[in-house]
Amino acid sequence: MSPLAARVGGRLRAMLFPGHQSKGSARQRAPTRSLIFIVILAFSGLTAAQAIDPLPFKDHAQEVRFQNLTRQLRCLVCQNENLADSNADLARDLRHEVFGLMQQGKSDDQIKQYLVDRYSDFVLYDPPVKPSTWLLWFGPALFLLMGLAIVLVTIRRRGRAARIDSRLVDNATIEQGDDW
């Protein structure tokens, strides 16, 4: 355990089990500092969660599902933002729309399809694999293969050239000729 972790652990133990203290942290401290530490820890996760517009979720699982889904959807107005993060007016409307569809018991795929029907595949950050997106999906692999082919051809050609060169050099040394 690192010293810091040991200290934190000791402090935590001291906080949680006041009567049962380890030797290292036997000195009594005011509990407020530990308390503040715990409180900050407890709420640190919440600051990352969005508080743009609170929606009446049924339970935490639904909220997680909502966050997950809206993170996969693109805001049409500020196109480098997802629906979860965007502050655009339309993004808020669409979040409410997604929320409403969820309340109706629609699955994630149905909700995505609902938006694709209106805004095309553009709303999906993860475009589906289909003929029009083949180049997008497999293009990088294609370029990699092309590069690989070029490298292979070059290496082979250089190898052959080097062999011919060395033969020429050998001949030249035998004939005691000067370099060009």
Partner: protein, 180 residues
């Protein structure tokens, strides 16, 4: 040959770069393609801006092609488009339906009073719920809907006289031939 290989590679990259620039001047990479082209327009029932007691629905608009122009008083690009619509809106040969998007009705009325009203009628979608069904993600956007209620064309961004001449007018002419 091998010596000029780097040059050839370089020129290929320059070509690719040039193509990218050329492509991006003709296509807005932020433009979201509408999956609704050729599909039935979503059903809508929206109040008239000037007479909120009366509503306009998709069903009530069937039988004649019409152009829906999504605008809002808060939308800067709509201000750029507005003079074009003022000049040409009445000569399109189809009703021009204003679609006031996420706007306070009094703001929209004041805006139209200030800048002039090129619209045959104006419907108001203050919550923006119906706009989601249309795949609207900003203003201005325009939809050409045919007599059977199919979306035949969508333009994202302000209309310019060139776009009206090149894209809109030929299509309107064709739609008018389809519906005697």
């Amino acid at each position: 040959m091998t010596r000029s290989l780097p040059l050839i590679g370089f020129l290929l990259l320059v070509g690719l770069f040039g193509f990218g620039i050329w492509w991006n001047t003709r296509h807005d990479p932020r433009e979201v393609p509408s999956p609704l082209i050729g599909k039935p327009a979503p059903a809508f029932v929206l109040p008239l801006l000037d007479d909120p007691g009366r509503t306009v629905s998709k069903a009530s608009m069937l039988g004649k092609p019409y152009l829906v122009n999504v605008f809002a008083s808060w939308c800067v690009a709509c201000g750029e488009e507005h003079p074009v619509l003022m000049a040409q809106g009445r000569d399109l040969g189809v009703p021009l339906v204003g679609y006031d998007y996420k706007d306070a009705p009094e703001d929209a009325r004041a805006w139209l009073a200030d800048h002039g009203n090129p619209y045959t009628m104006v419907i108001a979608d203050q919550p923006g719920r119906t706009a989601i069904d249309f795949g609207v993600y900003g203003a201005p956007e325009s939809f050409l809907i045919d007599a059977k209620g199919l979306i035949r064309y969508k333009h994202i961004g302000p209309f310019t006289p060139e776009i009206i001449e090149r894209e809109l007018k030929p299509l309107i002419a064709r739609l008018k031939q389809e519906t005697p």
